[in-house]
């Protein structure tokens, strides 16, 4: 049976991840997101009561699911709708996840990971099989009950379908029969039971027919009925037990199952074979639902994580929205926050509002500490969250779908001028290029900064121009001013001719008094960097040799 909560038509298996997911996770700081998804925030009267310990399984699940992008609008909407249902019925998703977790951990205790051991040890096999069947049947009953209870409030296709599926695949008849089977063989596993002050014990009640064949051997045995009956336990040495035994022994044409030690053993072997035979019929049941429970735990963990992320947004006072899918050339958002930073620093950061329409290349320049990288990351994080079906930290967010998302960030500590580093950087770029396709988004953060500005600019120009012409969407934060300048003048020339270059430039906003707002605005690339600021600060306004005045 299928869970189908992450995808409409498939389970979580063999899903394609981002090509270099590791870099994306590192560059965008997604681990913080996973961690917080694993920690529920409990509110009381609108304020935070406490934050729960991290649920390692949710962390693990988010780390898998978030880097496996959805590839179509339908897929994204499918998850968004389920998340909406979960946010409206938080108790439901919590209970479902808890039940799935309980089943899996009980199953672990029964030796799930040791796999399906052979049938050499019949007794061990039968006992394990009975316990697992009982566990699964009980779990399914609970899950079915939960889904039935909340069914009327569901609006998502995914949850509605799951509720319907479980009612069909584990219908009442199945539930009844599996309960009967477990009861039939309970003489095998159940110990004595106290009831109304008496001790009861389960005894088998078996009827079969057979033929006497060559050598009078009993063959062609057909089981007619198997059952267990709860009988008042009596000490075999007690008088009353002896009387009952004597009375029974008067039954004509019969013998006691304990007549001789040999017969006692044969009866035991007979019971054993019956239980093994009966339980062999549950193999397909267990097979069918074992994958179901594994999937259910993982898939509900994702939605549980989504609810937790929403709680973290609420805690920091961040607005959220469910992103909409638009053309790949467009990207627009209102009050987009860098969510990872917000969670790490427990702040509600400055948001950005942009509408970048019909642009394939966004070049962001400007002074350090101006919020450039934050801006780039906020877009990257929102893109990844959107492509996981999650809500994002913005009042509105609209973007295309890019299953081939790449990040190429030069981290500060990497910035030493060192040809080995450049080699490595170019190698990384090369492997990105080899894996590009027509739905690619590349986020470059100070790429090629491991060499001189002149060399870096030349490399960046060649690569980015070629990628741009090939139709790859790029957002790049750069220090390489010659490169930015060159791109800008080319873009200007084309606009003079009335063409749209598809390139746009952003800068960190600076108030006339030099104060930074940490907002990004569309503008002519700043041709000066922090160095000039510094120069100006320390020595005085430097002369610019390109004919302009500062």
């Amino acid at each position: 049976m299928n869970v189908y909560l992450l995808y409409k038509d498939r389970e979580w298996a063999g899903i394609k991840k981002y090509y270099d997911a590791k870099s994306i996770v590192q560059d965008l700081g997604l681990k913080t997101l996973y961690t917080n998804a694993g920690k529920d925030v409990v509110f009381e009267n609108g304020s935070v009561k406490n934050i729960k310990d991290q649920d390692a399984f949710i962390y693990d699940t988010m780390s898998k699911v978030m880097v496996a992008p959805l590839v179509s609008k339908d897929e994204i909407v499918y998850r968004q709708e389920i998340i909406k249902d979960c946010l409206n019925n938080e108790d439901f998703i919590k209970q479902l996840y808890t039940e799935a977790g309980r089943i899996m951990s009980e199953w672990d205790k029964l030796g799930r990971k040791s796999g399906y051991t052979g049938r050499q040890d019949l007794a061990a096999w039968a006992e394990k099989q009975i316990h697992i069947t009982e566990l699964f049947a009980g779990g399914l009953t609970v899950i079915k009950g939960l889904l039935k209870k909340y069914r009327s409030s569901f609006e998502s296709e995914g949850l509605k379908a799951l509720a319907q599926r479980i009612c069909i695949e584990f219908d009442d008849e199945y539930e009844k029969n599996i309960e009967k089977l477990i009861k039939d063989v309970s003489f095998y596993t159940k110990g004595n039971e106290d009831k109304d002050g008496n001790v009861y014990t389960y005894m088998p009640k078996i009827r079969f027919k057979g033929k006497l064949k060559a050598g009078l051997k009993l063959e062609d045995i057909v089981l007619l009925d198997v059952d267990s009956e709860s009988i008042k336990y009596r000490n075999p040495k007690s008088t009353i037990a002896k009387i009952v035994e004597f009375k029974n022994s008067l039954t004509p044409n019969s013998f006691s199952s304990k007549l001789t030690p040999a017969i006692e053993k044969q009866v035991e072997a007979f019971e054993q074979n019956i239980v093994n035979y009966a339980m062999s019929f549950t193999r397909s049941f267990i097979e069918k639902f074992s994958n179901f429970f594994e999937q259910l735990l993982l898939q509900t963990a994702f939605y549980r994580g989504a609810v937790n992320l929403r709680h973290h947004m609420k805690r920091s006072g961040i607005e959220y929205c469910f992103p909409t899918v638009c053309d790949n050339k467009n990207l627009s958002f209102i009050e987009l926050k860098e969510f990872v930073m917000c969670m790490e620093q427990r702040v509600n950061a400055v948001g950005n509002t942009c509408s970048i329409l019909n642009k394939q290349l966004v070049i962001i320049t400007g002074a350090n500490q101006g919020g450039k990288s934050t801006f780039l990351r906020s877009v990257g994080i929102a893109q990844v969250m959107m492509q996981a079906g999650l809500p994002v930290a913005a009042e509105d967010f609209s973007s295309g779908i890019f299953p081939s998302l790449f990040t190429h960030f030069t981290r500060r500590e990497d910035s030493a001028m060192n040809s080995g580093r450049l080699d490595e950087e170019l190698g990384r770029m090369n492997s990105i290029i080899e894996n590009l396709d027509d739905r690619s988004l590349v986020l470059l953060n100070e790429s090629f900064a491991t060499t001189t500005e002149v060399d870096g600019s030349i490399i960046a120009y060649d690569i980015i121009k070629a990628l741009n012409e090939a139709g790859v969407k790029i957002l790049t934060v750069t220090h390489l001013l010659s490169f930015a300048k060159k791109m800008y003048s080319e873009s200007e020339e084309r606009s003079k001719k009335g063409e749209d270059s598809g390139i746009t430039f952003f800068c960190a906003e600076r108030k006339p008094d030099g104060q930074r707002t940490f907002k990004m605005i569309q503008s002519v690339p700043e041709l000066t960097s922090f160095g000039l600021d510094l120069y100006k600060q320390v020595i005085g306004t430097p002369k610019l040799y390109d004919g302009s005045e500062d």
């Binding site: 009827r207 027919k209 050598g215 009078l216 009993l218």
Partner: protein, 517 residues
């Protein structure tokens, strides 16, 4: 008329030793596939027929098996016979007296039914071979005797009555109650009120998995003796049908030793034909050709589409096909002298010739499209031991030591296969020795083939015909053997061309490899 052996053997085979030529001709490899490692069956293949009549006797039987659809009937017979022997074993070994009498019923039933079925199957097929006709007559006599009929009817009746009886057991509150019922009782039961909604528990279990193939394991089947549980059950049953038990005892007293050992031997010896038939059928399915050899001593020895069966098996596993050849011995020809390039298929051809003779002598099909083979008294082979690290003189010595008894004790009219003799001797010496060997066997009216690189041996005398392995237009071996006398020239150049390792081709290949990279 009595019946002795379907193989026309004077006495039953008792594990003979493998003839020396098996290894040289790779017949051991073929037989491994034919007998699937069964030593007892293999023994029949190691026993070479003593005369042409025996060979013919078998050939005709095998023809009946192939053409009259007797394979199924005979296989059924041998299988049932094995089962019958198992029942006899249990009957003899069991400790319980009641059990003995019941094993006996089933042993008689199986034995008599088996013979009756074989009889009717054989009769329906109307065999033509002497062997099968004799067998049919003998069976006719056996199954029509009054004694046989009496045994058969009594055993049938007793087993049918027991089969009709259901034993019903209820295990409840630690007690096991036993009841017996026949068809009439069963109808009554239909009305039982306390019954579950299903007729059998399996019907209930099928709800969960109707494709489950697991079957209930009968815990009593592990031993053939009655278990204590079964003994108690039998006690109740014997009280219910005492008459049946009396009759069973009577049948045991009347006949418990009834096996005619002639049928035992038949069941054993049939394995010879049946194993080969299975093998031949399998090989035909993968495209190999077989034929029944004509064995006309008046006509020349010849074959079309002859191939090395052992190589064909090996090649098939590797997905390669095997090259077949045609040949004929002229009226005056006694020996082939086969020369030609190395790796040209000389040894393979020589082996296929030896195999042809062997399988014809055994009365079986041969690996060719068409063949005529004479009767030979024996097959003698001499293959050089290639891996020998001994010095030249040592190797020559070793060859001569092996050759000597072969020459001295060979019967007249044997088939000789000699492969690369005297390679370490000087050519001058080797030619002389080779001619002597040829002359010796020709003198004994033997046929054979002599593989050598010395084409001079073709000139030994008028009874020798020269053959040679061929190269195609590119100088590559094509494994074809033609009647042609060719001097041996060496083939190092051909060999590197075959693998495209010469300068021109290798440079060309390398360009391709570089481009791809």
């Amino acid at each position: 008329m009595g019946f002795e052996s379907i193989l026309d053997l004077k006495e039953p085979v008792k594990g003979l030793t493998e003839p020396a030529f098996f290894l040289d001709l790779n017949i051991d490899q073929i037989l491994e596939k034919v007998t699937l490692g069964n030593r007892r069956v293999r023994a029949y293949y190691e026993y070479f027929p003593l005369d042409a009549e025996c060979s013919e006797y078998r050939r005709h039987i095998y023809r009946d098996i192939r053409t009259k659809g007797l394979f199924e009937a005979l296989t059924k017979y041998t299988d049932n016979y094995t089962e019958f022997r198992e029942l006899e074993r249990k009957k003899k070994e069991t400790r319980g007296d009641i059990q003995k009498t019941v094993w006996n019923i089933y042993a008689i039933k199986l034995y008599t039914e088996n013979l009756l079925t074989l009889y009717s199957d054989l009769k329906a097929a109307s065999p033509e071979s002497e062997g099968m006709t004799d067998l049919l007559n003998y069976l006719d006599k056996t199954v029509s005797s009054d004694d046989f009929k009496d045994k058969y009817e009594r055993a049938e009746a007793l087993s049918a009555e027991l089969d009709a009886l259901d034993v019903r057991v209820t295990y409840e509150k630690g007690r096991i109650s036993v009841d017996v019922s026949d068809a009439a009782d069963r109808e009554k039961e239909e009305d039982d009120e306390d019954k579950p909604s299903y007729a059998t528990y399996e019907e209930f279990l099928d709800f969960f998995d109707k494709d489950n193939e697991e079957e209930f394991v009968n815990p009593f089947a592990k031993v053939f003796e009655l278990t204590g549980f079964e003994q108690e059950v039998v006690k109740v049953v014997s009280k219910r049908i005492p008459d049946w038990f009396k009759r069973a005892e009577k049948l045991y007293d009347d006949c418990s030793e009834f096996e005619d050992t002639c049928f035992l031997r038949l069941a054993d010896e049939l394995a010879f034909y049946l194993s080969f038939y299975v093998f031949e059928t399998k090989m035909k399915e993968i495209g190999m050709e077989f034929c029944e050899p004509e064995c006309d001593n008046q006509k020349n020895i010849e074959a079309e589409g002859l191939y090395d069966l052992a190589l064909a098996i090996v090649n098939h596993d590797k997905g390669k096909i095997v090259v077949s050849n045609d040949f004929y011995y002229d009226e005056k020809d006694l020996f082939f002298v086969l020369t030609g390039p190395n790796q040209g298929g000389k040894t393979t051809f020589a082996r296929s010739l030896g195999q042809l003779v062997y399988f014809s002598m055994m009365g079986l099909s041969v690996a060719a499209k068409k063949a005529n083979v004479h009767w030979f008294s024996d097959i003698l082979t001499h293959f050089s031991v290639e891996e020998s690290v001994e010095s030249g003189r040592g190797k020559l010595m070793e060859e001569l030591v092996r050759l000597s008894p072969m020459m001295k004790h060979s019967r007249d009219n044997a088939f000789i296969v000699i492969n690369e003799l005297f390679t370490t001797a000087a050519n001058y010496d080797a030619i002389i020795m080779g001619k002597n060997v040829l002359a010796h066997f020709i003198g004994k009216n033997c046929h054979g083939i002599y593989v050598t690189h010395l084409s001079e041996l073709c000139d030994t005398d008028e009874h020798v015909a020269g053959l040679s392995a061929q190269l195609d237009e590119n100088g590559i071996q094509n494994f074809k053997i033609l009647r042609k006398k060719v001097a041996y020239e060496g083939c190092a150049e051909n060999q590197i061309k075959k693998y495209k390792l010469d300068y021109a081709s290798l440079s060309d290949r390398l360009k391709g490899i570089m481009n791809r990279a």
